[in-house]
């Protein structure tokens, strides 16, 4: 299925769009691609795009003054991406958005989205619904990080994305799960074999 169709299908899961509106909406999303380890959004920039992932894996991460990274979000097909709080609040991003593998995405600019939101109330509704779901997702992830054992966290990730071990260096996955890289290797050996 091509990426515009995937986008439409994904949006329909969040909001019951009519055909004409989803068609108009999806026409404004443009394809863009990146190589591995490219920064899509820089820190302190205002995120100008909402992304939809067609191919590859990306991450939103925080970098502290000591150079330590915290991988906050992993994005991969099919989901939205970008530094979304910066996008919606129109404030400088506190995080980086980068590719972990070669990636193909669709994107829509903030200004275009504003025009569409004003023209089609469904799109406005949709953005709200998507935001509420994203917020709910963040709370679930906080539960995982604080309450799950390393093994449980690892299993959850494998359920959501079984192929990710073959696409992405382990260090990013370990960082995302809040697990020490050495312990992460031990976990894989223990669980997979």
């Amino acid at each position: 299925m091509n990426s515009i169709l995937e986008l439409q299908e994904f949006c329909r899961k969040i909001f019951p769009f009519t055909d004409s509106v989803i068609d108009s909406f999806s026409q404004h999303w443009k394809p863009v691609s990146f190589r591995r380890k490219e920064i899509i959004t820089e820190i302190n920039q205002i995120e100008n795009y909402l992304y939809f992932i067609s191919e590859g894996v990306q991450r939103v991460y925080y970098l502290d003054e000591a150079g330590r990274e915290a991988t906050l979000v992993l994005t991969y097909p099919y989901s939205f991406g970008g530094v979304v709080d910066s996008f919606l609040l129109r404030q400088p991003a506190h995080y980086y958005y980068e590719t972990l593998t070669p990636s193909s995405l669709l994107r829509i600019s903030y200004s275009e989205l504003q025009i569409l939101k004003n023209e089609y109330p469904e799109i406005n509704e949709f953005i709200q619904q998507a935001s509420y779901k994203a917020f709910s997702g963040v709370l679930s992830r906080m539960v995982e990080l604080q309450c799950f054992s390393s093994e449980e966290k690892f299993k959850k990730l494998m359920e959501r994305s079984p192929h990710i071990l073959m696409l992405v260096p382990h260090k990013y996955l370990a960082n995302y799960l809040g697990i020490d890289p050495t312990n992460f290797s031990k976990l894989i050996n223990k669980i997979r074999i």
Partner: protein, 197 residues
């Protein structure tokens, strides 16, 4: 050999991407015993291949990194290999160097404490190499010379170091491919470019 700089860096990036994808897909998820297993002919295990590659990264990558800051931005679109650079590159690339080579002492793999950590290091090094290739766009690749790890009297142009490094990784990826049973085919792009004058 003469190269177009933009094409050269582009090719090196694709070459490294290909190597990274292979290591992530076929090597990083191997079990410790699979990594440590020696082939019947008594050659290196996958872990030893990885550690050998790491010794090159440990030596060359910091030098490439400082070369990037020292290298001027250039108007020249061309990079010309040095004579020795050409020789070493030809020798190390699997497509052109068919002779069996023996690793020198400082690049012999030592006792392996943590094979998975070694694989992690290799991945980190390949990612860095990728990033350095991106950062070198538009820069002069002949200006800075880097002493080789084997003899500090021999200095190679930065561009030649990059070509040598990538060719060396290709060579050992093919070796790893034979060990794991998942064949590694090096990208042919550089081979094609070497016919361009």
């Amino acid at each position: 050999m003469r190269y177009n700089v933009a094409e050269l860096l582009n090719t090196l990036e694709f070459q490294t991407e290909h190597q990274l994808a292979y290591v992530i897909r076929y090597i990083q998820n191997l079990s410790e015993s699979e990594l440590l297993r020696h082939p019947d002919d008594g050659g290196w295990s996958v872990a030893e291949v990885v550690i050998h590659l790491n010794t090159y990264g440990e030596y060359y990558l910091p030098k490439v990194k400082s070369a990037i800051t020292l290298t001027p931005v250039t108007g020249s679109k061309e990079f010309k290999s040095g004579i020795l650079g050409d020789y070493f590159i030809r020798m190390i690339r699997p497509q052109t160097g068919t002779k069996k080579l023996k690793a020198v002492k400082q690049h012999q793999p030592v006792a392996i404490e943590n094979p998975h950590e070694a694989v992690s290091t290799l991945i980190q090094q390949l990612e860095l190499f990728l990033i350095y290739c991106k950062q070198l766009n538009g820069k002069d690749l002949a200006c800075i010379r880097i002493p080789t790890s084997i003899s500090s009297f021999i200095k190679l142009r930065l561009g030649d170091v990059l070509l040598f490094f990538a060719g060396h990784v290709d060579r050992h990826m093919m070796q790893a491919g034979r060990l794991t049973g998942n064949e590694f085919q090096p990208l042919e792009l550089i081979a094609d470019m070497r016919n361009v004058r």
